[in-house]
């Protein structure tokens, strides 16, 4: 039996390309006005809750300061990113990947079980019985797939003046357009944090086997 469905693997790599380009072009856009505010408006350093550092050119797309160029990449890649996530959710619900592998059970939410899981992770012991993913993995993947990735799309649309007429109640709910913009940055950095953790944990746990599994699918009971 295949470990990872073709749809999962396909989406995983397409999404990686989208997220990397969106993130790096986003850093270029951030350089245009590196201050974050809460509320409906904001333009002054005195009103900012955060002054973002300037990102070096090697980390931005394009590789030099160009707000127009970065916005081109950002608004192009958002299509495969958003449609890919939508299709992944449809596939996950249809092939029961979500129910079988990602949905947490009531027993898993017991504090003693969570503590045991954290302790095992800290010892770099990633073995687990029964289901494909352990509780912390389910929780993290669930948050990324269900909150942070859709959150990137919703907060991104919330910044767009052309979408404003349709999303006004949502924008007001978070406190205004500048709050939406701040949340967009916070989601992006949460995703960056996940990316780093994800890569480190893959490197710490049979990286070649994990990579092969995400490319060819891999087999259960293979090793």
């Amino acid at each position: 039996m295949k470990r990872h469905a073709l749809s999962t693997r396909l989406w995983h790599w397409v999404n990686l390309v989208c997220v990397v380009i969106l993130f790096m072009s986003g850093l270029n856009i951030s350089n245009a006005h590196p201050r974050l505010y809460w509320g409906k408006w904001g333009f002054d350093a005195a009103d900012a809750w955060l002054i973002v550092p300037r990102f070096p050119e090697w980390s931005t797309i394009p590789g030099y300061y160009s707000l127009a160029g970065a916005r081109d990449w950002h608004t192009l890649m958002v299509w495969p990113f958003a449609l890919g996530l939508l299709m992944m959710w449809i596939a996950m619900l249809a092939n029961r990947h979500f129910k079988r592998d990602l949905m947490t059970t009531r027993e898993e939410w017991r504090w003693s079980a969570i503590r045991r899981d954290i302790a095992k992770h800290l010892r770099l012991d990633f073995h687990h019985e029964g289901s494909k993913l352990n509780f912390l993995q389910k929780l993290t993947y669930g948050l990324v797939l269900g909150v942070i990735l859709p959150g990137m799309i919703v907060t991104g649309m919330g910044i767009s003046p052309g979408m404003e007429p349709y999303l006004a109640p949502l924008i007001e709910l978070v406190g205004g357009r500048q709050s939406m913009r701040s949340l967009h940055f916070i989601c992006a950095w949460a995703l960056f944090g996940f990316f780093v953790l994800h890569v480190v944990l893959v490197l710490l746990s049979h990286p070649l086997k994990q990579m092969r599994a995400m490319i060819t699918g891999g087999r259960e009971n293979a090793a």
């Binding site: 790096m24 333009f43 707000l67 160029g69 916005r71 003046p161 052309g162 404003e164 357009r177």
Partner: protein, 244 residues
Amino acid sequence: MQRRGLLAGAAAFLAAGCSKVAESSPGRSLFETAGRWHRGAQRVFGDALVTEYAKADISPFFRGNGSTGVDTPEYAAHQAAGFADWRLEVTGLVDTPLSFSLDNIRKLPQRTQITRHDCVEGWSAIGQWTGPQLATILKGAGLKPEARYIVFRCADTLSGARYYESIDLDDAFHPQTIIAHSLNGEPLPVINGAPLRLRVERQLGYKHAKYLTGIEAVASFADIAGGKGGYWEDRSDYQWYAGI
């Protein structure tokens, strides 16, 4: 240290690769297609209005950006005279070319709206704008059937080039698209475009042309200045559709 160098190297490689793609003509046409998709997706619901705020939401100061004045003796003379002789010409593909004084503009049916201005750079400010709807002026002049875009002529120059902008007829006839002469109940300050500026509320700040001298109906903007439909579009490849 080594891994960091490797990551930076990979990122720089990607950044350079993307720069190359962006400069190619297939790259450009891909970006333009994406822009059209966004415009189409955003227009699905028609003429919805952007949020209009309460007086209490108005920001304490309305930042001026880009041009914050017009550096000519003519403009200085107009300013000294309270813009009494300022004219707004309506020309191009219209049945009746028109010429408005500031007084004529103030006598048209007025719309007052408290809206949020979103700069492409990321900042926002809220202000109360008053002026006639652009639709009133265009209906008065009568658009010819070939007219597809409205071009805005401005008095200001930036880095040696005359500022101008253009929008499509959907945005031109949107109820919140107005020719504003007042900000927060006072005549427009110079930094915000005195005596007349465009408010096109579903688009980013650079579309809101200041120091307006003319409105021109055209079939295409290909032959105007750099041919991309606006000052920043010509100069720095800013997106012509600025609703994103």
